[in-house]
Symmetry: C2
Subunit: 248 residues, 2 copies
Amino acid sequence: MRYTPEMHDIAHPSHVEGHFESSESVRDVVIGLSDGLTVPFALAAGLSGAVSNSHIIVLAGLAEIAAGSIAMGLGGYLAARGDAEHYASELAREQDEVITRPDDEAEEIYEIFAQYSVPRAAAAPVLAALQQNHPAYVDFMMRFELGLEKPASNRAHRSALTIASSYIAGGLVPLLPYMFVGAAVLPNTTTALGFSVIITVLALALFGALKGRLLGTGAIRSGLQTALIGGAAAAAAYTLARLLNSHT
Amino acid sequence: MRYTPEMHDIAHPSHVEGHFESSESVRDVVIGLSDGLTVPFALAAGLSGAVSNSHIIVLAGLAEIAAGSIAMGLGGYLAARGDAEHYASELAREQDEVITRPDDEAEEIYEIFAQYSVPRAAAAPVLAALQQNHPAYVDFMMRFELGLEKPASNRAHRSALTIASSYIAGGLVPLLPYMFVGAAVLPNTTTALGFSVIITVLALALFGALKGRLLGTGAIRSGLQTALIGGAAAAAAYTLARLLNSHT
């Protein structure tokens, strides 16, 4: 399901109070596991509909895990670094503006409050208090004018590693049964597909339920939804691969 | 690279002014294209390192596109619907609280301002103005206490379709050359891989450059980064598949 605004609540469960690094890690695990459990699962299921060689399915699954974990991890790293740079450049600009363009900044404060029908006279004491304390003034503008929050330091590296590891861990679950076909524990890819569906749907439901508890959206509903997404993706990939294969 | 906080700027380029539906669509296209261009590309490249049958590569690529587009589209749909429900339930709670618990709400306003060293006396006129206008009071709490913005109506359906379509469009680009191996235009999967790398890296660079212009992070830098992520993912998948294949 990739990163969604909803996940903001995992990272900031207590809203205004600020920044919890552990919760950001939880969010990264959720992002990585969501996709890791879903896409390699569906790919393997899809190929099972067309290819009887379990070796190719495992190979494709591992190639997908390598590709997906790097795309998510490196993408997450660059995005987090970009966020940090964006924050730093906006911070420098605001720090400059509260000194060099005090009237413009004051006008911006009035405009923020005007959106909520707060007249200039009522906003003036707040402005005066902020002008007494430049760091607080800058923080206020960063959050209320620009909607930016200070990124945790070193967030980029940790975020990339957490997302990529979670993607790999999630992706290996659906592939495990196919690995045992080569070792003659399971007779064929169809049996492996059956086991893969069972363990992955259970893992998706469990993971979805935990995510639902964290988000407060309800464990059962979230568990069912997460299993549904994975199941639908796998069913579509399987059907597509079967159709394509029967036409060639 | 999935959805990142950085992308918030695409959806809200003018920050406080509000909500632009067209920008949210742009964000959805960016999310879909980012992954669509990267992961099927890397998967196909990876399989080229181990499998000489272009039919299997196309099949795996299409299965991945089906799986990925559904996982992203359906995931995006459920997430957007969850956001809308979350917003509605918090809105109802705030609407109730400004009437039934006016003192607690007032205290919350004081606490928000206290974080920026604004004394109670200075915040009092703002509070009084908000208390005169309950809809504005509720809006203020939604945004500044809870950090929530009103989701566009019907956002969930459109978002799901836009993300999934963009993923499919992006994913077909790297697969095209492999489709022409069967039609005897290209001699083998190695040649197809070469063409796939050329057109996909160009597409990633162009897409990254456009994204960089939209975000204001610089077209050249963003173009190089986007091409780098895709290239790294493809190289890793290719290397992994070759190594695994030589051991079996």
